[in-house]
């Protein structure tokens, strides 16, 4: 019996040692952990790592984003030219903000991607302050030449540039021209026409505006812009600008007029997009990335994008929400890893080269940060015209205010619509959260 007991103990010890040994093997083979090894081991590992380098790249080019396919092709070409490199494309759709959670979790758990295409907004503040991403202007080998003005838009308040842009975007009112024509309704270029269009479509079986009042990012922004013009739109949340509250209350006014589908409070953005793509809705607030989906649905020609009609004194229709809020970041951990640095710099310069930028931008029709797109279809040209004609362009509200405060604003829209609260009250609560 005693012998059996000792055999069992030995077996247990053997299993334990094997497990530890296996985990050690795995750790040693990861180039990212070279820093932790002793000097002697480091030399051997660096040699091994120069043969095989594993990179992980996180972007928002996934899901319904048509740039995803082109981006994967671009990565495949880089890997075929650098056979010792393997790249894990860990991209995730930007819808519903889950990419923010992913990136924050990755960085806070010491599992950061080597490179990422992420929001260079309030979302990246923590990463920059903690030194988790590289100052590109000081990084050796990084080529920041050839960019248009979008590069300067990336400059952080501390004077450094941590992200290189790929393309710009604009948001606007996407309208199905065909449905407007068929129903004899004028395209909404003024606030009065916009309200008239809502009233007219509400009498038909067509939903005037495809929107989710819960995921109401673009709706909130555009209604605030319409009510206040650019001057008030760019105000701080702490100001509790009355035009923002008025904009929120206008959503209720229009909901009461039948602007949205009755289940707008429970559908998500994707469902709202489907309504528009199935021609069950005449208008939708979206961004320039939406063109890719429209092209896939074969309805690019039937749609045009208009600026939100602004009715505020001092405001001007044509002012738009847009800019270049996303950029390529390099994680400090990866840059400081001798085994990875050269490859990461090469990949960065490759992905931000004019050829690659134009190629990826071509998939979505968004204005590139380097070079220009040729032979654009008329509807995409109209979008680019919208940007060049805009008297003022500003980033979305959620890119510059405290995330919890904006979530409160957008998720309170169903309560505003049902009359349980008002725009002013919601704004006051949101401002309180920011404090």
């Amino acid at each position: 019996m005693k012998q059996f007991k000792w055999s069992l103990l030995l077996v247990f010890l053997f299993v334990l040692i094997s497990l530890v040994a296996c985990s050690n093997n795995e750790t040693d083979s990861t180039p990212a952990d070279n820093d932790d090894n002793s000097e002697g081991a480091e030399e051997t590992d660096t040699e091994e790592a120069s043969e095989e380098v594993d990179l992980r790249v996180v972007t928002t080019m996934a899901g319904t984003d048509p740039a995803g396919e082109v981006f994967q092709e671009v990565l495949d070409e880089f890997v075929s030219e650098h056979p010792h490199v393997t790249i894990e494309n860990d991209s995730q759709s930007a819808d519903a903000g889950t990419i923010r959670t992913k990136v924050n979790t990755d960085f806070s758990s010491d599992n950061e991607p080597d490179m990422m295409f992420y929001f260079n907004t309030v979302d990246a503040e923590g990463l920059i302050e903690e030194g988790k991403v590289v100052n590109l202007e000081e990084a050796e080998g990084i080529d920041l030449s050839g960019f248009n003005s979008m590069l300067e838009q990336q400059r952080h308040s501390d004077g450094n540039i941590y992200a290189a842009p790929q393309s710009g975007f604009y948001e606007g009112l996407f309208v199905n021209k065909k449905l407007f024509e068929e129903n004899g309704i004028e395209l909404p270029t003024t606030w009065e026409q916009y309200e008239a269009a809502i009233e007219a479509f509400a009498e038909t079986d067509i939903v005037p505006i495809a929107a989710s009042t819960e995921d109401s990012y673009y709706v909130v922004e555009h209604y605030a812009l319409a009510a206040g013009g650019m001057e008030n739109y760019t105000a701080e949340l702490a100001d509790q600008n009355p035009s923002w509250a008025e904009g929120l209350d206008n959503i209720k006014k229009h909901a009461d007029m039948g602007a949205f589908t009755p289940d707008a409070a429970t559908i998500d953005l994707a469902m709202a997009q489907e309504l528009f793509k199935q021609e069950q809705a005449a208008m939708i607030f979206e961004g320039s990335w939406f063109w890719g989906q429209l092209e896939e649905a074969g309805m690019g020609e039937d749609v045009t994008v208009l600026p939100m009609p602004v009715y505020a004194d001092g405001g001007e229709t044509g002012e738009i929400v847009g800019g270049a809020s996303q950029g390529w970041f390099i994680s400090t951990k990866s840059y400081e890893d001798e085994a990875k640095r050269d490859v990461v710099v090469d990949l960065f310069n490759y992905l931000t080269s004019e050829e690659t930028i134009v190629r990826i931008a071509g998939a979505t029709g968004q204005p590139p940060a380097k070079g220009a797109l040729d032979d654009l279809p008329a509807y995409l040209e109209a979008g680019h015209q919208l940007v060049s004609d805009a008297p003022a362009v500003a980033l979305p509200i959620n890119d510059r205010i405290y995330p919890e405060a904006f979530t409160h604003m957008r998720t309170s829209v169903p309560n505003i619509v049902s009359g349980n609260t008002t725009g002013e009250q919601v704004l006051e609560e949101a401002a309180g959260m920011e404090e």
């Binding site: 069992l8 959670t101 559908i267 998500d268 199935q278 995330p403 049902s418 349980n420």
Partner: protein, 287 residues
């Protein structure tokens, strides 16, 4: 006895190590986190019990708490209740029992996300299954997810999803009851529905107790069905503690406040499990 202790220690160690690392350590971290105000994962400021004060005054959290408790009531009554009825019925038949067992158990193997999507497409106003049927019958569309109905509409798939789980537990318990008991009862003149109340249920009461505790604690973990079907809405009419915690911790990156809601969920779960155990305490029946 000494030898037994060694084996006990030996076999329990891996379980203790794993639960320690993956359950108790994160839980302690979670409690610590609840005393901090966090912004974007990287900035943490110690704020004492401010998060708990905020939770106490948070109307949405209160609504989420009451919704969770209401959902718990429906789920416990209907999941365990329906499972019991189905188990007794399936036990009573000889032909096709296997078919029914598989059919009732089937929803368990479908992921919550898939069931959520399924019911989203069933309830959808413009193109949903229910409204398509109504329109084809010449009737008006119905808004299925309203402030008044959303919680019930979420309860339906939640109940359907897990009935099979309790059904299998209860069916196995019923099948363990020796046939002699029923034969003796028949000789005593006990028939039909009386058999169920006087024999079957009293003999499986310990299994029923387990099912009820599991249903109660399980309801507090409900997340994906609510998140996918209603997103807690309209407004916060179907918000539950799980979805509210997710929103605060991961969408708003307010990890500290999210951790505070998580502490509430754990405390609530433990208290309810303790209370249920106390209330249902009864001498175990052995046979």
């Amino acid at each position: 006895m000494k030898g037994d202790k060694l084996y006990i220690f030996l076999f329990l160690t891996p379980a203790f190590v794993i639960t320690g690392i993956f359950l108790y350590y994160p839980f302690v971290e979670n409690i610590l986190q609840s005393f901090y105000k966090t912004d974007g994962f990287f900035n943490s400021t110690f704020i004492g019990i401010d998060n708990y004060v905020r939770l106490w005054n948070d109307e949405i959290a209160r609504e989420a708490l009451f919704n969770s408790l209401e959902l718990m009531l429906y789920v416990t009554i209907f999941q365990v209740g329906i499972a019991l009825v189905l188990a007794i019925m399936v036990n009573a038949i000889t032909k096709g029992a296997g078919f029914y067992r598989t059919t009732f158990f089937f929803p368990i193997v479908i992921s919550g996300a898939a069931i959520g999507l399924l019911f989203t497409l069933i309830y959808n106003y413009r193109n949903g299954l229910l409204n398509e049927i109504l329109v084809n019958l010449g009737l008006e569309r119905v808004l299925w997810l309203t402030e008044q109905s959303s919680l019930y509409m979420v309860a339906i798939p939640t109940i359907w999803n897990y009935v099979g789980f309790y059904f299998v537990i209860l069916l196995t318990a019923i099948q363990k009851i020796p046939n002699d008991f029923y034969e003796a009862a028949e000789l005593e003149g006990v028939t039909g529905i009386q058999k169920m109340f006087k024999l079957t249920i009293p003999l499986i009461v310990s299994d029923l107790k387990t099912c009820i505790v599991l249903a109660i604690t399980g309801t507090l973990k409900i997340f994906e069905l609510v998140y996918i079907i209603t997103r807690g809405g309209p407004g916060s009419s179907s918000e539950v503690l799980g979805t509210y915690m997710y929103q605060k911790a991961f969408e708003d990156t307010a990890m500290g406040y999210g951790a505070t809601i998580a502490v509430l969920i754990v405390v609530l779960g433990l208290s309810l499990a303790f209370i249920t155990n106390k209330l249902l305490q009864k001498e175990e029946v052995t046979y």
